[in-house]
């Protein structure tokens, strides 16, 4: 399900399945995109932040056009205890690899991988990023 911001429109509530993973996309070229994500985060139930939220930063290939500071992104990941992924949508290889990563995360969050819970996976990702 794609949405431009949260909260989701209530008229579609009855059509929506269970949400297992929320990926917030931040375009590094747009400060507005970061603001939008920050505003939307306020509408997310706290239980999602136990491994069911991740931040996906796009546009990282174009270093010249960075409008968003990396510090703000790292801080966001820390404050909301969620992993931060980076990708460049314009390159097919990276796009496909990122999609596969997200799909893997989704399988874990949906409970399809026995023995691995969303929370354990989330803390695994955070610990490896902290070193």
């Amino acid at each position: 399900h794609l949405a431009t911001s949260l909260p989701l429109p209530s008229e579609r509530d009855h059509l929506r399945p269970r949400i297992d993973l929320i990926a917030f996309m931040i375009d590094i070229k747009s400060k507005y995109s970061l603001k939008n994500v920050e505003a939307s985060l306020a509408h997310v139930d706290a239980s999602f932040f136990l491994g069911k939220v991740c931040f996906l930063v796009t546009g990282v290939g174009r270093v010249n056009y960075c409008s968003v500071e990396m510090n703000s992104i790292w801080k966001l990941g820390e404050v909301y205890c969620s992993p931060v992924l980076f990708c460049e949508l314009e390159l097919e290889g990276i796009r496909v690899a990122t999609a596969q990563r997200l799909l893997r995360m989704l399988q874990i969050c949906a409970g399809h991988i026995p023995g691995v819970s969303a929370l354990s996976f989330g803390s695994l990702m955070r610990n490896s990023a902290d070193n």
Partner: protein, 346 residues
């Protein structure tokens, strides 16, 4: 042949893209077909221009013919210049028959009576467009062929498109000559400027696709069906909002391509509204500020702002009124009286 004329022709030919040189010379018609056959149009432009000058030498070209070549070049590449739009007014309802010869005679006479050193050339095109090329001199110097102004006058309309170039001081003279020659009363500058002459014509002649105000803001049933292209597994949560934006955009901008403008400029002469405690600008003077929007294609980029998620729909009427009001330079002043806010000066 005059050395300055030769140089002028050479420089004009150098401006033309190599593949177009032959066609343009044929349009010019000054050199015969046999003469043109002798030129190798595949060599470098520097050499082509030399050959052309040589041929013009044989035909003893003078400044009048050279000027015609310049008009042809500018007619095919008008977007290299900046054009302003002027509107002439008549008092009374006399619909006079437009006499081209009379117009040309009066124009030349009026201009020359004020300034003797000018080169004036006319060329008529389809759709009643008269192109006038003026090279300006001073009372003491010959006309400078590189300091030219162009006028495009559509005789069945009150509109004149002027590209002044450097010497703005000659503009009042030019305007007066136009008014006298065309039997109008006066002329005023519309605040509308662009590189694209055709787009300016589209705007003033209302040739672009306009939005028609519908009484009922609901979309027609047929229009609402947007094809679900792409993967059916992707569900757009904000589809209603996206459709609303498309609908509003279409109402405002219409369906067709927008006229091409490069700038919109808003000169603000409004009072600075701040927290009274901040005490900024205690003297109640208008805060002077200039806001300029620039883009290779301003109206198309405004049209794509809301669908791209970068602005809310509908856009500010200050932006969307540009084609209807036929202006892209605005002065915004304080609205006096009942309602606070700002209004756009006529």
């Amino acid at each position: 042949m005059d050395v300055t004329v030769a140089e002028y022709i050479r420089r004009t030919v150098l401006k033309i893209p190599r593949d177009e040189i032959k066609t343009m010379l044929q349009k010019w018609g000054f050199l015969s077909e046999t003469q043109l056959q002798t030129v190798n149009f595949h060599q470098i432009k520097e050499n082509i221009s030399q050959d052309v000058v040589q041929l013009c030498e044989e035909n003893s070209a003078d400044i009048k013919q050279a000027a015609v070549l310049d008009i042809i070049y500018n007619h095919i590449y008008p977007n290299k210049r900046v054009w302003s739009v002027y509107q002439m007014n008549k008092t009374g309802e006399e619909t006079e028959f437009f006499d081209l010869t009379d117009f040309k005679k009066k124009f030349k006479r009026q201009l020359r009576s004020a300034l003797k050193n000018v080169t004036i050339n006319f060329r008529e095109y389809e759709d009643n467009a008269v192109w006038i090329r003026i090279a300006w001199g001073t009372p003491y110097t010959k006309p400078n062929q590189y300091k030219t102004s162009y006028v495009v006058y559509h005789s069945q309309t009150p509109y004149v498109f002027i590209s002044v170039s450097v010497l703005k001081s000659n503009l009042p003279l030019l305007c007066q000559a136009l008014v006298v020659a065309s039997n109008y009363h006066d002329i005023r500058e519309m605040e509308l400027r662009s590189h694209s002459l055709n787009s300016l014509k589209d705007i003033v002649f209302k040739r672009y696709s306009q939005n028609f105000q519908t009484y009922y803001p609901r979309p027609l049933q047929e229009r609402n069906v947007a094809p679900e292209s792409g993967d059916l597994r992707i569900i757009q949560e904000n589809r209603n909002e996206k459709e609303r934006i498309q609908r509003v955009n279409q109402e405002v901008f219409g369906d067709g391509p927008q006229p091409k403008l490069e700038f919109a400029q808003y000169k603000l002469e409004t009072m600075f509204k701040s927290d009274p405690k901040m005490g900024v600008l205690d003297e109640k003077e208008p805060f002077r500020c200039l806001v300029k929007f620039s883009s290779p294609h301003l109206l198309e980029s405004l049209k794509s702002l809301a669908p791209a998620g970068m602005a809310d729909a509908p856009l500010s009427p200050l932006l969307t009124c540009i084609p209807q009001k036929a202006r892209n330079y605005f002065k915004i002043r304080e609205k006096k009286g009942f309602f606070p806010g700002s209004f756009v000066s006529p």
